[in-house]
Symmetry: C2
Subunit: 474 residues, 2 copies
């Protein structure tokens, strides 16, 4: 966020729709100081964790209710001006950038936990509630919400990008965990999708259409999600391997055997090194799996024995246990900070992050060849992976002042995605398409499927005012 | 299927589009005898397990490939004639009926298991493969496909209705288990949705938009689904209760405690009686839970102990075990035949089946009051439930020759749905909307959400040729 903007990747600015004074005045009449045109506020809302640079939005509105969100969208629709929903700005793919100008609609003040339905293992929140805030709020119920992208993202943003994280291998992603939504449409109408029942066959699955739509089909104003009983027993361990291949093969076998492992994360030796530096850990600097097991005491013991035996067969070390809750928290916090540790390991750099996900049997092919290519290219990188899901991230650490580095990183990314798609995988397991993966999306799904997405977008947002220019161009 | 058609529920026939001779000739030129206009074939394709009566489709085409499906849709589009995908005809909601006339597109001959990817726990099948055929085909891999609507439905039909069944409480529904689809659009184009990766954030979730769209957005021509390792240990048991309330409360507590029970099915005493008669079982004729536990031997033992203790607290009997695989199969086959057992218990009757699903904490409220109402009305009924999901089915057994009985059943159904919706539930947990629940859908989701569905339908099928008149009217 603090890197000099002049070194960021400049996007061609097309279809800019400058915010007219009449709209600003109407918003200020309604929202007073909660509609800001101050440059610092606009710049703060015109940047995310991606490496793109575009002009900031014309104004920022801080909404406090669904009705206010609807008002903003209706006013914007009257003036044919884009609206870009904004939570806490942790997107990695440029989702929040005002590529066609417009209003950044900040919902971070809509951060109430509306109802905790412990008896049904569900909770309903406003979109600005963050995952850590949610888990704090439900702590006394003995339940928890497992989905944990690295950043402390909002539930609205997580729903909009179909986010996941380290626990997805056991608990699924936002796709599996959102039950119902309240959404403001492009016409400023408020609709509800889904119910609080566990399953339903009632018409088109609008909930899952909205989940992952990246703010292009509606503004999410309420999210109902599943909670899970805190496991009776939790054990976390690290296991070191001489080679990445051994760690990857261990993972593949764990999944193929159906072990209900709760977390199965990979770090390469270089990433362990930067994580050690960043988080003051003393982990052995080799390829490593970070694992967590949830269940009854006996069930956890069974899982641990199975996994240790698989690791043994693949030349893994004995498990090192994070015995106390505090040690576990320290370990997983360090894992969640791996992205920042990676970026800080090269001062002034920007990370170009990959996000492919492949069928588990192809994980070794996908991952090892991509690592070999990065090593050959000589570019600094970090490597972390939700490998239990077949999902891993390379972060190419480029000097934004050296165009050749960006080109190398983009070439490597391109090769990596092409490989994943050939292996039956996806260009993005959890970050979304945003600005960066639009071409990959066409390669992945074919133009027919993208045309179907376009048709849906045109039908629901004929003025193209909801986060335009993301996922695909119209 | 053999009931006299004259006693079935007559729907107002509107927007009939008679199939022109030119289209029949074009189809026969292409498909020869696989395009049939014989009355018996058309009638066979103009009826499902629902109690509606409409004129049969104008022709039936038996397709053998995706290319042939595309040809049929393109020809139908040229003539602006409906196309109704047909598998094996087990829909309960009138999905297969040619309410606007048109071509029944039978895909039951597209029944190849295309690829078993045991290393990735996935399989790709043509839409006409049935769930039993699939499980037979993957048997040697040590994997299985858990989703089991009562009938031996096709995977294409199950995807189209977002089906589930007895195992959904543990393994989810078609919503959670379809990874990727091949679909023929209303324009006769072939698209692919999803990938073989476990998760993805690549654009709109077209897979889940198609799943549950009841043939109105595309014709499913290929389905890639998840498989699961056969559990190391399986134990099935029945448990009797003095009252329905005790059985329901046991279920609620099992789910709230997070027991990973694989099946948790309720039958009331009357249904046990008709199942006994139909399947020659000697089950005690009281309210009963049929349960199954999957896991490691120790894990199963833990689950059993927990559940037995909950049942004890609710005045349940000791478990009666289905010890051998054969006994288990007999028990679950009987459960799957409960619908037919119910219907056969009153010769000449038709069943009006309900399908509400509520948040688990409200299951007792939803179920017990509905039973009390049915008893008060004096109408014969059966009651079965995937109660672990909060989903249960009343089958009101009406004499189709007595209009007052249908009226009573419809009134009871109406009250039951209204109650479920008030409790945060859905009008249909797994059967779909079809013809029967269109009004309920509006009550459930609100007209704004149904309008959004309509907008999507119009965008993807502007001629309204794909299974028109289902889910909503345009």
């Amino acid at each position: 966020m603090n890197a000099p903007t002049t070194h960021l990747h400049l996007l061609p600015v097309v279809n800019q729709r400058p915010v007219p004074l009449a709209l600003i005045e109407a918003l200020q009449a309604q929202f007073g100081a909660r509609c800001s045109t101050a440059l610092v506020v606009r710049e703060q809302h015109g940047r995310d964790e991606s490496s793109f640079d575009v002009p900031p939005p014309g104004a920022v509105v801080f909404a406090r209710s669904t009705a206010e969100v609807a008002q903003v969208v209706k006013l914007a629709a009257q003036h044919n001006i884009p609206v870009i929903p904004f939570g806490v700005g942790t997107s990695l793919e440029g989702h929040l950038l005002a590529v066609q100008g417009g209003i950044s609609l900040d919902v971070s003040q809509m951060n109430e936990v509306l109802s905790i339905n412990a008896d049904d293992l569900t909770v309903t929140v406003q979109p600005g509630v963050t995952r850590k805030q949610l888990n704090e709020a439900v702590k006394s119920t003995g339940l928890f919400f497992p989905i944990d992208p690295g950043a402390d993202a909002t539930l609205g943003g997580m729903a909009a990008t179909r986010a996941s994280g380290t626990n997805a291998v056991r608990y699924g992603t936002m796709r599996e965990n959102v039950l119902a939504l309240e959404v403001v449409t492009a016409q400023g109408e408020v609709i509800r999708t889904g119910t609080h029942a566990k399953k339903s066959s009632a018409g088109y699955d609008l909930t899952r259409l909205m989940v992952g739509s990246e703010g292009t089909l509606g503004v999410i104003t309420e999210v109902t999600i599943k909670l899970y009983p805190l496991p009776e027993a939790v054990m976390a361990a690290t296991c070191c391997f001489d080679s990445l291949a051994d760690a990857v093969n261990t993972t593949i076998q764990i999944i193929q055997l159906g072990v209900p492992i709760a977390r199965c994360e990979l770090l390469d030796s270089n990433t362990v090194r930067v994580v050690n530096q960043h988080s003051k850990l003393g982990l052995p600097e080799s390829a490593m799996l970070l694992m967590e097991f949830h269940g009854s005491p006996a069930g956890v013991q069974e899982q641990v024995e199975t996994v240790q035996s698989i690791a043994d067969d693949n030349h893994g070390s004995a498990f090192a246990w994070a015995a106390t809750p505090e040690e576990r928290t320290r370990l997983w916090t360090a894992r969640h900070n791996a992205y920042f540790a990676g970026v800080q390991s090269r001062p002034g750099c920007k990370a170009i992050t990959t996000d492919t996900c492949v069928p588990i049997s192809h994980l070794a092919d996908a991952l090892l060849d991509s690592v070999a290519e990065a090593q050959e290219a000589g570019i600094p990188y970090f490597l972390v992976g939700h490998v239990g899901d077949g999902n891993f991230h390379m972060g190419y650490l480029i000097d934004p002042a050296i165009p050749a580095e960006r080109e190398t990183a983009e070439r490597l990314n391109h090769q990596l995605v092409e490989r994943a798609l050939k292996l039956g995988g996806t260009c993005t397991g959890e970050h979304g398409v945003g600005l960066h993966k639009m071409n990959f999306l066409v390669t992945e799904t074919g133009s027919g499927a993208v045309d179907m997405m376009r048709a849906i977008k045109r039908a629901l947002d004929p003025q193209n005012i909801l986060n335009p220019g993301k996922i695909f161009t119209l």
